[in-house]
């Protein structure tokens, strides 16, 4: 079984080697992605929940002198994230068009993002956690710069600088964390770090937490480090936006849950006020900015920034309910935003524009596209029946239980649901309903390939919406009680 976990990382890399050697890009990458999804399902259901803890462990010694080993392993939360990654990968590769320039590189980049992000989730060594994330970032930049639309180079450059600096601050934070461990105990292994924290050996300063928060935060587009995100998503080719917004961005949250939550309980408590302030910025400020957007891709881009606020709120509640809500919301948001970007790409391919002022009435000739987009919209604004709802409710409960300091953020967050209803419903109306614009009288409906790719994302969303325990029980194995 532990071999299977390694394979989920190796398989996309092997497929990209095959593509570089001349195999058919689309077929090879799709086969690899589907097999990988099957692997992740086997791992997901093969995880022994009653035993809990880290399973499927494997280890290679890289620099034993420095305590650097490549250790892979998974607990419930890891497997939820890997499931999310493989689902979105299949869907992204499915909707990936045949591009004119560098067709092979396009698929190779997507596979590298997938391998990198799975590797990051499955790494127990902090250094490899970081390294795999970098491996996924570089192809993302390349994809925006090469195949993006609009002002692609500026967007890619901005994202590169923000995320490059963000991950750099993160690296400094991790190194500082390593040094702050009393010598003799120094380790980069998450399991040993956890033990050091519980046994009271580890007393990292709040400053290191701040570095990690800024580092991870800029990767997750935490207010005010968010401004790279909407432009990058608007310009990125849809599969890249799906993988980044859906999965790769969650790495920052995953890192905070894995590293900050267990190792910095005091610092997180001390600096919770700051985090809450930023959360309010994320929800309220970005929420209103989203309302004022005039294009569909920018609306979705900003909404994905805004929804990070809810997940951060769950983290900031520092209790089991809130954090498991955050974990569920990570899964749910990943799927719903990926579906939204996939559909957004489909609309752009048909109309060539995403301006609200030019669109309207597309549902008349493209009813399935409209229906699926409706589902994605409802999921994103947290309608009961979708996992997003369950996640948000848990976050609200968790936050309320955390005490009086959370009252204002919770009120803001609940108001945020109204804000997202405003912009998502308006977007839905402007694009699909209203009087039919003459130019769009014969817009084709969604192709069956893309349709199933989106259904693949929406179905787990509804399953987890009706039966959230399916995710929560798994994610719960990773959280302190």
């Amino acid at each position: 079984m532990s071999l299977l976990l390694i394979l989920t990382i190796v398989l996309p890399l092997a497929a990209s080697l095959l593509i570089m050697a001349g195999a058919d890009p689309r077929r090879t990458s799709l086969v690899a992605a589907v097999v990988n999804l099957a692997f992740s399902l086997v791992l997901f259901f093969g995880y022994d929940r009653t035993a809990g803890g880290w399973q499927f462990l494997s280890e290679w010694k890289i620099l034993p002198k420095l305590g650097i080993n490549m250790t892979l392993g998974a607990d419930g939360l890891t497997l939820v994230m890997i499931l999310l990654a493989t689902l979105v990968t299949v869907s992204a590769l499915w909707v990936a068009p045949k591009v004119e320039k560098y067709n092979g590189l396009y698929h190779v980049s997507l596979l590298f993002i997938s391998a990198g992000v799975i590797g990051a989730f499955a790494s127990l060594d902090v250094l490899f956690l970081y390294s795999f994330h970098e491996l996924a970032l570089i192809p993302t930049f390349l994809m925006i710069g090469i195949w993006g639309t609009g002002d692609r180079q500026a967007a890619a450059w901005k994202a590169t600088i923000y995320l490059g600096l963000g991950s750099f601050v993160l690296l400094i934070g991790l190194i500082a964390l390593y040094i702050s461990i009393p010598s003799g105990h120094r380790t980069l292994d998450l399991r040993e770090l956890d033990q050091l924290a519980t046994s009271g050996v580890l007393h990292p300063s709040a400053l290191i937490y701040l570095l990690l928060l800024v580092g991870f935060g800029s990767l997750v587009s935490l207010f005010p480090l968010h401004s790279w995100a909407p432009g990058a998503y608007a310009c990125a080719p849809p599969p890249a936006a799906m993988l980044h917004a859906g999965v790769l961005k969650k790495f920052g949250l995953y890192g905070l849950i894995r590293i900050a939550l267990p190792l910095f309980p005091e610092a997180m408590h001390e600096l919770n006020g700051l985090l809450l302030l930023l959360v309010v910025g994320n929800i309220l400020y970005i929420g209103y900015v989203t309302v004022s957007q005039k294009r569909l891709d920018w609306t979705i881009g900003y909404s994905s920034v805004m929804h990070m606020g809810y997940i951060f709120l769950g983290l900031a509640s520092l209790n089991m309910i809130g954090v498991s809500g955050a974990a569920l919301l990570m899964f749910a948001h990943g799927l719903s935003v990926a579906a939204a970007f996939a559909l957004c790409g489909e609309i752009r391919r048909r109309t060539g524009t995403l301006e609200y002022s030019e669109l309207g009435g597309i549902a008349r000739t493209a009813p399935v596209l409209a229906l699926l987009f409706g589902f994605a919209t409802m999921a994103s604004l947290g309608l009961p029946g979708f996992a997003n709802f369950a996640g948000e409710v848990l976050v609200f409960f968790g936050a309320t239980a955390a005490g009086s300091v959370m009252v204002i953020p919770v009120i803001v967050a609940v108001w945020g649901v109204v804000i997202s209803a405003i912009y998502m419903l308006r977007a839905y109306r402007n694009v699909f309903w209203g009087p039919v614009v003459q130019r769009w009288e014969s817009v084709a409906d969604i192709a069956s390939g893309a349709k199933w790719a989106v259904i693949l994302l929406l179905l787990p969303l509804m399953i987890a919406g009706f039966y959230p325990q399916f995710i929560l029980k798994m994610a719960g194995t990773a959280l302190p009680h």
Binding site: L135, G145, I175
Partner: protein, 480 residues
């Protein structure tokens, strides 16, 4: 096996090739480069036969040693020379243009043979423990390099580069000889092994002249390793010299300079009379080199100049490790850094050589759309740039990690903080090349052909970058 045999074998190989060159009528000068590379590869294999240092007390022991450091760097220099020789035949078309045409192929052969003598000089230099030996081997290497740097005789840039290199090289030679004479005058020895005890016996008043001598030698070595403020020759010489020579200069000759620096400082590091000043100077040198190399690289538009400044920047990271010489891990870190540096720098110069041959220039804009014109070259450059910038899973990342680690353990927090800033600057200028290759439109669509030998080199060097980045233990074990 006695350690001198390797160097003697290299010199003999060079002399035989020179004879063959002058007496053979064959116009196929490329064969000389292949034979040279195969011969050096044989010497590289011989270096794995266990060697014993000259017996203590024997005349050779006063000049030459064979320790882990010298064995490692002898291999590194042999490897760099082999890479150089393999790139030479594909550089012949560019050479032919600027060589006199009286005799078909005249002057080409020497370009393939002279590097072998540089190699011998550098090999001696990394094994030398006496300043006289260091000086003689240094001259053997640099005088030959002057010739190689000016090889494009019809090209004014190459002449300018060679002249600058010659004048500044001669100046630094002056510094080192002057420094050695002060050192000898105060301590009565030129031997590095005898230096610590000689200094310990010195009266208080002799410390200042001693420091002056050491300072002069450090100035000369700073020229060789291109440390600030003696780096100013680097961009001009790199830009003008033939590309394979530039590549060799930035790897092999710099490596030998660092080994001498390590040996000199290793002898002085723990001596209370001088250690305080030396630690301060090296730390300052590291900081200034880091700042200058990285920030001056940002506005560059010429690839060779960019790589020149980047080589200054890497000297800064290496100096960070030198400044932490008290740590046992410092020398392994430097050795590993150089192994990775060899692979990534030489790989980027191989790509540059093909690109400038095909497009007629060295500007970064010549790389525009390279991803479309040659996926192989663009992929190789992507890998090299990623490694130079220090992205995980490449040799460059592990190298920087090791250097930062030893610096942190020695308490050089300021240097490490500075290093973090300069790494971020590095991301910017290396990414500029990647951006040109993939984001920009190519000036023309024709694909670029890569000669077979270079394709082989690209594969080997690329594999080395990833292999060192994923599994660094064997290289580190070679130095411990």
């Amino acid at each position: 096996m006695n350690t001198l045999y390797l160097e003697i074998a290299v010199v003999v190989l060079g002399i035989i090739l020179l004879m063959v060159e002058s007496y053979s009528a064959s116009a196929n000068k490329a064969r000389l480069a292949w034979i040279g590379a195969i011969g050096l590869f044989g010497v590289l294999l011989l270096s794995f036969i266990p060697q014993h240092a000259p017996a203590p007390g024997s005349p050779a022991a006063a000049f030459i040693t064979s320790d882990l450091l010298s064995v490692f760097f002898v291999r590194l220099i042999l490897a760099a020379t082999i890479v150089f020789l393999l790139t030479v035949p594909s550089f012949f078309p560019a050479l032919r243009i600027s060589l006199p045409a009286e005799r078909e192929g005249g002057g080409l052969g020497e370009f393939a043979i002279l590097p072998i003598f540089v190699c011998a000089g550098l090999m001696w230099m990394v094994s030398a423990v006496d300043f006289i030996m260091i000086f003689v081997s240094l001259e053997l290497a640099t005088i030959t390099l002057y010739i190689l740097a000016t090889y494009l005789r019809q090209n004014t840039a190459s002449l300018e580069s060679g002249t600058k290199f010659l004048i500044l090289g001669a100046l630094s030679t002056g510094f080192i000889v002057y420094g050695i004479s002060w050192l000898f005058g105060t301590t009565g020895t030129t031997n590095l092994l005898a230096l610590p005890s000689a200094i310990a016996a010195l009266p208080e008043a002799a410390v200042t002249p001693l420091l002056f001598g050491i300072g002069m030698i450090l100035v000369a070595l700073s020229f060789k390793i291109s440390a600030f403020p003696f780096q100013f020759w680097v961009p001009d010489v790199y830009q003008g010299a033939p590309t394979p020579v530039t590549s060799y200069l930035s790897v092999a000759s710099k490596a030998a300079g660092f080994v001498v620096l390590i040996r000199l400082l290793g002898a002085l590091w723990a001596i209370p009379a001088v250690s305080h000043q030396i630690h301060a100077v090296i730390t300052l040198l590291a900081a200034l080199t880091l700042i200058f190399g990285n920030f001056a690289a940002i506005p560059q538009t010429n690839m060779k100049r960019l790589l020149g400044y980047s080589s200054v920047a890497h000297a800064g990271y290496l100096l960070m490790a030198v400044a932490s010489l008290s740590s046992k891990m410092a020398v392994p870190a430097i050795g590993f850094y150089f192994a990775g540096y060899l692979a990534m720098t030489m790989l980027s110069f191989v790509v540059l050589q093909v690109v400038s041959e095909a497009t007629g220039g060295d500007e970064i804009s010549r790389f525009n759309g390279l991803g479309r014109r040659s996926p192989l070259l663009a992929g190789a450059m992507l890998l090299a740039a990623a490694s130079l910038a220090g992205i995980p899973f490449t040799a460059g990342f592990i190298g920087k990690l090791l250097v930062f680690e030893v610096a942190l353990k020695q308490g050089h927090y300021g240097l490490v903080a500075l290093g973090c800033v300069t790494v971020a600057a590095g991301f910017y200028y290396y990414f500029k090349v990647i951006r040109a290759m993939y984001w920009q439109q190519p000036a023309e669509e024709t694909s670029i052909a890569v000669p077979g030998a270079l394709r082989f080199l690209i594969a080997v060097l690329g594999a080395a970058i990833i292999a060192f980045g994923v599994y660094p233990a064997p290289i580190l074990a070679a130095l411990r």
